[in-house]
Structure formats: structure tokens, C-alpha cells
């Protein structure tokens, strides 16, 4: 079960600059911390975040172990056409999460 919060406008004017915000539940375990038994907890981070607008990549980001748990990403895009914005996170231990929102551009 993945938990994601997306904040994106439902509608925008053509050419308008909109802000997209995405928050995801993830431990972002660094791989440097010892657990209670003294052994290192294996690294478990998100490695890559990609946002696509109707299949076209508009934003991507590589994550590092120094990024906090439950990372929050905010970025801007120019509204070009109606359709779906898809957010995809992939990472260690086969982690994969995807969420998409519809947007109306007039």
C-alpha cells in the first residue's frame, strides 16, 4: 500500500504556470544507521521521481540518502494541454508508486 498526496490544480489556462506538489510516505532509510541489534539497516530509499504530462516527461529528480523520510517535492510546469499528469516514484527493494491527476486546460 502506498500513500501519496498530490496537490495540483484541476483546471488551468493555456500557458499558465502551475505549481505541482507531491508528498509520499516512505522511510528513506539511509543505509548508514545501525539498528537496535548493532547491525546496519540496509538502505531503502526512493531513487528516482518522474512526472509526465500525457506521457511526456516534464520533471525528474534523483534522490539521495540525505533526503528526509516522507519526501515532499514541489515544482512548476507550464499548462499546455488537457490530460493527465502522472507522478512515479521508484527505488530500492523494488519500490514503485504511481499516482495521476486529471487537468483541464482551456
Amino acid at each position: 500500500m502506498t500513500n501519496v498526496l498530490i496537490n495540483a490544480p484541476k483546471a488551468a489556462r493555456k500557458g499558465e504556470v502551475i505549481e505541482l506538489k507531491a508528498l509520499i510516505l516512505h522511510p528513506m532509510e539511509t543505509g548508514f544507521r545501525p539498528g537496535t541489534n548493532g547491525t546496519i539497516i540496509p538502505r531503502n530509499i526512493i531513487e528516482r521521481f518522474v512526472a509526465t504530462w500525457n506521457g511526456v516527461e516534464i520533471f525528474s529528480m534523483a534522490f539521495s540518502p540525505a533526503i528526509s523520510a516522507n519526501p515532499f517535492v514541489s515544482f512548476f510546469a507550464v499548462a499546455s494541454e488537457s490530460g493527465r499528469i502522472t507522478f512515479r516514484w521508484t527505488g530500492d527493494e523494488g519500490f514503485s508508486a504511481e499516482e495521476s491527476v486529471a487537468i483541464e486546460v482551456a
Binding site: 500500500m1 500513500n3 498526496l5 508528498l23 509520499i24 510516505l25 516522507n70 515532499f72
Partner: protein, 273 residues
């Protein structure tokens, strides 16, 4: 030829004393003179939210930026997931609307019980009694998520501890713990949160310790945590031995603190630095 000096010094001294006496008397009188009879003085109590920076206040207020809302979302999913041998989910008995005003009442003494329980205790009691499911571990993600989901339904309501007379003794016990000096630093809760609230400790404002926003997402923890976890944090901070997570003193302290914050706006789930 020092003699003439003396009367002058005496005069100055007397004048200063007089000025002091008059201003002191005025300061004593003034509040009564300014506040009209019967008018309500502003509440001197401050929520921890007011002591945070503007950026964090906005993060708490924005449901799409408040990380605690991830747990609320998780709690909503757990709300309708069957658990235990009865196969019942929370929504088998309660509606979400019923949960409005629940979080602002706890800790309370449940029907048919004699010991006070907090909201987490209530959730676990529902699990063990009505769902026949094992209790969730203290501070576990699922328990906090359910607690956050229930707490979210009461956001904006005034804190309203029950008028159960049996709770008086519990609150008294909590108040005594609040004033008890403990640990290697020999500090009580009151020394920081009553006597020195608003001052700084390690560059951070000491809040008045009103539990208005629990469970909180603390950025330092990078996770959601309950009031118990916060209290443990303080106990460790004063180098006292923290009680085990299921210990009764926590509930007594919570009962006292909620009563102390009676009428304040409930803001859960909060964000704290």
C-alpha cells in the same frame, strides 16, 4: 566640606524612592483601571503552533503539505479494513461523522472500566474487545495512523475533557507528576513549561505544553508521534528514566494537560520542528 552634599543625596534618594513608589502603585492599579468590570481578559494560554515559525505554521495548515496527512490517509484505509476474528472493521460500528469530537474528550474512563485510557488505549480496546484482534503496538504506524484519522475529525473543536468526577483524582495525580522534580537535572515539567515558557532552550522557544495538536508529525523524528512519545522525549531530556510506553503515569499526565488546555482549539494532526 562634604557636609552640604549629604542633604542633596538624601533628597535625590527620597525623590527616586517616591517616584518608584508612585509608579509601583500605578502599575498595581492600572490593570484594574483599564479592564472594565466583567470583561474577559485575553487567554494567556498559547498553543505550540503560535510559537513556531511562519513556514511551519503554513505547512501544518496546508493539508497537501502537512506530512501527518499521509498518516491520516493511511488511517482512513485502515478504518474500513476488517481485523481480528470477528472480521469487523472500524466502520462496521462507527461512521466517520461519529468521530467528530472524540479526540478532544480523551483521556477518559471507558464504560465498564475504572482506569483512564487515552485515544490510543480506546482504539486498542476496540480492537481487543469488539474486533477480537491483537492490540496494536504503542507508537506503531498503524495505531498512530488510526489515531491521526480519528483526531483529524475533531480539528477546530475546543478541547473538552469529560466532567467525570472519577477523573479528578487522575488529574491530580497528573498535576503532581507535572510538578515533580525528576532525573539527573532535577527538573519538573512546570519549571520549563510554566516558569520559563516563552524563553529559549537551545535556541528554541519553550512552549506552554498544551497538547493541542497530537498526534504530531515532528520533523526531527521524520515520523508521526503521540503525546506519550513527546513526554518520553522530555523525560529523557531531563535525564530521568522514561516509563514504559504502557505505563499509567502517561495517561495521568495527559489527563492533566488536556484539562489544563480545556477550551483551546484542537489542531491535530500538527507539525512540530
Amino acid at each position: 566640606m562634604r557636609l552640604p552634599d549629604r542633604p542633596a543625596r538624601w533628597a535625590v534618594g527620597a525623590l527616586l524612592a517616591g517616584v518608584f513608589a508612585v509608579s509601583f502603585a500605578l502599575a498595581q492599579l492600572l490593570p484594574h483601571a483599564v479592564t472594565p468590570a466583567g470583561a474577559q481578559a485575553p487567554d494567556p494560554r498559547r498553543s505550540g503552533t503560535q510559537d513556531m515559525g511562519e513556514a511551519l505554521q503554513r505547512m501544518q495548515a496546508d493539508d497537501a503539505a502537512n506530512p501527518a496527512m499521509l498518516f491520516v490517509q493511511l488511517g482512513e484505509q485502515l478504518w474500513s479494513r476488517p481485523a481480528g476474528t470477528t472480521g469487523k472493521a472500524c466502520d462496521g460500528c462507527h461512521t466517520v461523522a461519529d468521530m467528530k469530537g472524540v479526540a478532544v474528550r480523551y483521556p477518559a474512563i471507558p464504560r465498564g472500566g475504572d482506569a483512564p485510557i487515552d485515544l490510543e488505549g480506546r482504539i486498542n480496546r476496540c480492537r481487543t474487545e469488539h474486533q477480537q484482534a491483537p492490540a496494536l503496538a504503542p507508537e506503531s504506524r498503524d495505531l498512530l495512523a488510526l489515531e491521526a484519522f480519528v483526531a483529524r475529525q475533531s480539528r477546530g473543536l475546543p478541547i473538552a475533557p469529560p466532567d467525570d468526577p472519577r477523573l479528578a483524582a487522575v488529574r491530580e495525580e497528573g498535576a503532581a507528576l507535572y510538578r515533580l522534580r525528576q532525573g539527573q537535572l532535577n527538573l519538573s515539567c512546570a519549571i520549563c513549561h510554566d516558569d520559563n515558557a516563552g524563553q529559549k532552550l537551545a535556541g528554541v522557544v519553550i512552549p506552554q505544553a498544551h497538547p493541542t495538536a497530537y498526534p504530531i508529525y515532528r520533523l526531527e523524528w521524520q515520523a508521526l508521534g503521540s503525546l506519550k512519545r513527546r513526554l518520553r522525549n522530555c523525560l529523557v531530556g531531563i535525564r530521568a528514566e522514561a516509563w514504559p510506553l504502557d505505563a499509567a503515569p502517561y495517561v495521568a499526565l495527559e489527563a492533566y494537560l488536556m484539562d489544563r488546555a480545556r477550551g483551546m482549539r484542537y489542531e491535530a494532526p500538527g507539525v512540530r520542528p
